[in-house]
């Protein structure tokens, strides 16, 4: 039995496809079958897709295969000795194997006024529905956090006729996940579209109007930005409370080995809630991506079926902002050399990140071929000739 959303849905699907001979129960406190979160700050927020099209699989697919979904119920407690979980309706369920796929919670701002009406966060469908209902033309939207979620929402809001200000505490946008060339490109893209993007700007509090609705965002330089709607998008914290109270080892994430086993061999953990090992990083890491959720789900399926395969997937990610698709593969943060292919001014280029002559990551802007080639080369840990990567006369494909 297992619980929760994107990772859990993928796990259950994989088990169905591999004809796993046991019964699974998927428990989620959200009232919907597992669904894709990326569209929550993209097409679904823009009103371009229907809710049902976000579902990973139709509800009936799981049940036709003999598994059960218990939606709108929370797991409150794990009893590892008796191998049971206690649900919010006070019932208990026994398990042979338990998979935790509890995801993450949004990080809340700890500033005065942070719970005023009109201040939004974005993690689930209900959050997006609430935010979308506030995005009317002419409104002033302040987004706290220039990460990919904040920037995706900014682009949609601008297209919807709102006046958008992005406040970012760091010196560049998307600093945590990408290099300076990509940050600079996206900063220019957002500013050219009419957003005000303020870097090195920390929020210190929120001011209310007479009705207790947010009316201003106070920043560290003493100024206040007038506002109608606020989105706070400043990252997530892994949802580990349940695992911790059950005494499973956690350290900003449930600790799992390369077979996604937690400290208790009967309990696996997958997705955003884990800190895990992978041949592509030296230290255990936490990842916040669809790729990690689905790849760990497949590792878990193999572990459950006694066909242990160590987790060795290359991390990858994407983001859509305006007419730009950013595709990323690998982890760029420990690189020692960057090589740019193409020219950012043309709107299509890629940055290759090298460490000791190996390609460790690629960020591709409207250049899918660089992403695809990168996925192969990073996986193969290959030495790559940096000059060839930037030479427009050499086809990227020929380097694989």
């Amino acid at each position: 039995m297992r619980r929760s959303s994107l990772a859990a849905g993928t796990l259950l699907t994989t088990l169905i496809q591999k004809q796993w001979p046991h019964e699974a129960v998927l428990i989620s406190d959200e009232p919907l079958p597992p669904y894709q979160r990326p569209p929550l700050s993209k097409d679904y927020l823009a009103g371009k897709t229907a809710r049902e099209s976000l579902y990973l699989r139709p509800h009936s697919m799981y049940e036709n295969a003999g598994h059960r979904l218990r939606l709108g119920e929370r797991v409150e407690r794990i009893d590892r000795v008796n191998k049971t979980v206690e649900l919010s309706d006070q019932s208990t369920l026994g398990y042979d194997r338990l998979v935790l796929a509890t995801g993450a919670r949004v990080r809340r701002l700890n500033a005065p006024g942070a719970d005023l009406e009109g201040i939004h966060y974005l993690r689930d469908i209900a959050d997006t529905d609430a935010l979308r209902s506030q995005l009317s033309p002419g409104q002033r939207l302040v987004i706290v956090g220039g990460g990919y979620i904040g920037l995706e929402v900014a682009a949609i809001a601008v297209k919807g006729g709102l006046k958008v200000t992005v406040l970012e505490a760091a010196g560049r946008v998307m600093q945590r996940v990408t290099g300076p060339e990509i940050s600079a490109f996206f900063l220019a893209k957002h500013r050219d579209a009419g957003e005000e993007v303020r870097l090195d700007t920390s929020v210190i509090g929120f001011e209310a109007d007479d009705d207790g609705h947010v009316a201003g965002v106070a920043v560290a330089d003493g100024s206040t930005v007038p506002v109608d709607v606020v989105l706070v998008a400043v990252g997530i914290t892994p949802e580990t409370a349940l695992a911790e109270s059950a005494g499973l080892p956690c350290d900003d994430g449930i600790l799992v080995d390369e077979y996604v086993r937690s400290g208790d061999p009967a309990i696996l953990a997958i997705g955003d809630c884990t800190r895990h090992r992978n041949v592509f990083f030296e230290q255990p890491q936490r990842m916040e991506s669809v790729a990690n959720a689905v790849d760990q789900a497949r590792t878990a399926a193999a572990t459950l079926m006694g066909d242990d395969k160590p987790y060795d997937a290359v991390p990858w990610f994407w983001s859509n902002q305006y007419d730009v698709r950013l595709q990323m593969v690998g982890l760029s943060k420990d690189h020692d050399e960057r090589v740019v292919r193409g020219n950012p001014r043309d709107g299509a280029f890629a940055v290759f990140y090298m460490r000791e002559g190996h390609l460790v990551a690629v960020d591709a802007v409207n250049l899918p071929i660089a992403f695809m080639v990168g996925k192969k080369l990073v996986y193969q840990h290959r030495d790559v000739d940096a000059e060839a990567l930037s030479d427009p006369d050499i086809e990227l494909k020929s380097l694989v």
């Binding site: 591999k18 990973l56 699989r57 689905v294 994407w318 409207n366 899918p368 071929i369 695809m372 494909k397």
Partner: protein, 106 residues
Amino acid sequence: MGKITFIEHDGTEHVVEFEAGASLMQVAVNNAVPGIDADCGGECACGTCHVILAQEWFAKTGTPGPDEEQMLSMTPERAESSRLGCQVQTTEAMDGMTVRLPEFQM
């Protein structure tokens, strides 16, 4: 409503019903057909929904867009009639179509 047959690389056939309008990827995914991952959920961002159409059907589904072509050019087992399943919208006329799935997705 019509039927599409997905054939796995080992020859296993999956005959599934579809409603015109869904993408070929969705049709496969909704019916738990193995051999298609569709990790990005249809955003043309992952390249893991590679399908190979029968030649006569390929002509009828239009040609891959430029982004799709770049993604396809690196998929293992690329064939002349390859598409990304999420970029092919099904129509009534596809009743009876057969679609092959590669052994490995990207």
